[in-house]
């Protein structure tokens, strides 16, 4: 069988599985549509949350990002896992006991205010929309690479599939598809990692390989892998792999913003509304973090292996003796070599090869058979360009794995993108059908109508997401992290936290705090990403980390305004005390 046939087979099989699950779990009531009827087991929810959480960007780009930036990338590793400790201890058990369908429901009820509800809906839609655009783009990219089709066609195929099972199956359909998708992802991620670890370090466990010895040049030349990597890096003019280049304050703020943002992301919180009770929320959180960690603990290993392998195999070699994968990925336009000094050898050093972000290939080949590019060259001595995404996707080829593993990795990429897109789509449609239509515009709506609205809303959201997936507002998509996590950290997280842990905080405080937090964060990010042509950040805190400051502002403003205004009603205070009592949680409802 050829590689292409394997790809079709794997993608076809996984798609058939996802759609089959969706049909089996077709839903009729809002309770099933929004929270899968509230009866998902904690293990299944753990896997589903993990799949929901790990996006195409995590799956494809994270290891490449770690490879490129070493210690600096730890902010993502700690931020995106540490957030689950905050989520579990401060947010989800209480919101599950509260027992409504959405995060915005809590804001609206706790602060007795439709303004709080509207602010919540706007945040939820903005966060989910920025996120889902990147996912649709990811699906499109993978399809276009796999089947040689236009990215636009790839995006449309992806959208159709997501609509099929998210729109029809609702939360119930999504949950069980995500369980299947997690299984695909975890094998696709770890199998190549194990083999590349064996190749470079002789260790079957990649995490031990990372701290083990580099044994590729024979046992007698064994040196610790990280020393080898630092050595290669400094020889070629890069910073040491284990050193960071961000200031401690910036690194701290970014990590903290990612953690708090994680604990405030609506599509993650609602996943915990699907389990039976508070006790199940706690065990489900353990399963979730365990499932996520399988991938997050493997990523740093893949990053270090791929970087070492790339530098060791490419630098100072002739084009003709390079391994097969180099030529394959050059063929696909993700690698380029310019023989700047005409010595016939590839020099891979720090610095850019050419101007512009991606290579513009001409139709002619160079003296050694390499694809020539037309970009203006830089004065740097680096001759090799590579897209960091290939470090995951080319892994199986680097380790000489059979073709079906390559196909499995592709299926894993698609699963990662689809599962996150589906989870986001559900929150988007819920925000519109439930929080906006049912709670504000049309309170007398029947259950059946609400589900209909939810399906219409998910179709509408998907059309918008697909449009932006095809015509990405690149400036925004690339800044997804700063926006989505910054806004979640400065709005949902502090406001929910205070709503649970204080009976005194009232609607005036909450609204003022949310508006200040989001306003400040949004303005700072927008100013530095789109208007300022300099990076003289305030105290050196980059836009990625400003959500942490926005969160502190939210806390401060909420508490100050609350202190100056009367406490909430007796009923609300009792409601808050009631959600702190763990037992007697009922299935989530819209009453």
């Amino acid at each position: 069988m050829t590689q292409e046939m394997w790809n079709y087979l794997f993608i076809g099989l996984t798609f058939a599985m996802y759609i089959g699950i969706a049909f089996r779990s077709k839903v009729a009531s809002t309770s099933e549509y929004y929270v899968a009827g509230g009866g998902v087991s904690s293990f299944a929810n753990g896997m589903a949350t993990a799949a929901d959480w790990m996006s195409a960007a995590t799956f494809i780009s994270m290891a490449g990002g770690i490879a490129a930036s070493g210690y600096n990338a730890s902010r993502f590793l700690m931020g995106w896992t540490g957030g689950f400790v905050l989520l579990t201890t401060l947010i989800v058990p209480y919101l599950r006991k509260f027992g409504k369908f959405t995060v915005v429901d809590f804001l609206g009820d706790r602060f007795e205010s439709n303004i709080a509800r509207v602010v919540g809906v706007i945040c939820a839609i903005f966060i989910c929309m920025t996120y889902i655009m990147g996912q649709m783009r990811g699906v499109g990219l993978v399809f276009s690479r796999l089947f040689d089709i236009e990215i636009a066609t790839g995006v449309l195929i992806g959208s159709a599939i997501v609509f099929f099972y998210a729109g029809i199956g609702g939360m119930k359909g999504i949950t069980y598809t995500q369980v299947a998708q997690y299984s695909v992802m975890v094998f696709a991620y770890t199998i190549p990692a194990v083999f590349i670890s064996l190749l470079l370090t002789g260790n079957v466990v990649p995490q031990l390989g990372l701290i083990g010895d580099y044994t590729r040049e024979g046992a007698e030349h064994a040196v610790p892998l990280l020393d080898k990597l630092n050595q290669l890096n400094t020889d070629l003019g890069f910073a040491k792999y284990t050193d960071g280049s961000l200031t401690t304050l910036d690194m701290f703020c970014i990590t903290a913003a990612l953690m708090c943002g994680t604990a405030g992301l609506p599509h993650v919180i609602v996943r915990f509304f699907t389990v039976k009770n508070v006790r199940a929320v706690r065990s489900s959180a353990c399963w979730t973090l365990a499932c996520i960690s399988v991938i997050y603990l493997t990523a740093p290993a893949i990053g270090a292996f791929a970087r070492t392998n790339f530098m060791a195999e490419v630098h100072e070699n002739t084009y003709e003796e390079l391994p097969e994968w180099f030529h394959n990925w050059e063929e696909r336009g993700l690698i380029a070599w310019v023989d700047k000094n005409d010595d016939g050898l590839l020099q891979h050093r720090a610095g850019d090869v050419f101007e512009g972000r991606t290579p513009e290939y001409t139709d002619t080949l160079g003296a050694h058979g390499q694809r020539l590019i037309s970009n203006p060259l830089t004065a740097d001595t680096n001759e090799v360009y590579y897209d960091k995404d290939i470090l995951v996707m080319a892994n199986p080829e680097m380790a000489d794995l059979p073709m079906w593993v390559v196909a499995l990795v592709m299926a894993g990429c698609v699963a990662a993108a689809l599962s996150t897109a589906a989870g986001l789509l559900l929150v988007l449609s819920t925000s519109i059908s439930h929080d906006l239509m049912k709670k504000i515009v049309h309170p007398t709506m029947t259950d059946k109508h609400e589900v209909l609205y939810a399906r219409l809303a998910s179709f509408g959201s998907l059309v918008v997401a697909a449009y932006f997936g095809i015509n990405p507002p690149s400036a925004i998509v690339a800044k997804t992290v700063a926006f989505a996590f910054g806004l979640a950290a400065s709005s949902f997280f502090p406001t929910i936290l205070l709503g649970v842990f204080s009976t005194r905080v009232n609607k005036h405080g909450a609204i003022a705090g949310m508006v200040t937090g989001i306003g400040f964060t949004f303005a700072y990010i927008t100013y530095f990403q789109f208007y300022a042509d300099h990076t003289n950040y305030w105290l050196g805190i980059s836009p990625e980390g400003i959500g942490f400051v926005g969160m502190l502002l939210n806390f401060a403003v909420t508490l100050l305004v609350t202190a100056a205004t009367p406490p909430p009603s007796r009923e609300i205070q009792d409601m808050v005390r009631d959600i702190r009592v763990p037992n007697g949680a009922r299935a989530a409802t819209h009453q």
Binding site: Y71, M259, R279
Partner: protein, 107 residues
């Protein structure tokens, strides 16, 4: 929607009983302890004191201590923290008679 009145007293002022207050104080202590460790192993060991730890503590295999904490150690600690949280909270619920009935959880 199963609303069983036998274990869900009607909402209202009477709903808050002394054992609820004691339980809440207990859970605040647990959460504070968990978050203290959480901060120390991640933002503390991986970011704030990373350089000091790299120098003063022995390497983990081939990796400097602070670097290893930031890339692997913190995540492993998070898993242990959540397991501890689950254990302590379930025990606290039982101690105050506030657990869901035996059939109530699939944990």
């Amino acid at each position: 929607m199963t609303d069983d009145p036998s274990h869900t007293p009607p909402p209202g002022p009477d709903r808050i009983r002394p054992e609820h207050k004691a339980h809440w104080r207990g859970s605040l202590r647990i959460v504070a302890g968990i978050l203290l460790v959480w901060f120390t192993v991640s933002l503390g060991a991986g970011v704030l004191f990373r350089d000091t730890l790299d120098e003063t503590l022995p390497n983990i295999g081939g990796a400097p201590f602070g670097f290893w904490m930031a890339q692997q150690g913190a995540i492993l600690c998070f898993i242990l923290l959540l397991l501890t949280y689950r254990f302590l909270m379930n025990r606290l619920d039982r101690a105050h008679g506030l657990e869901d009935r035996a059939t109530g959880g699939d944990a």
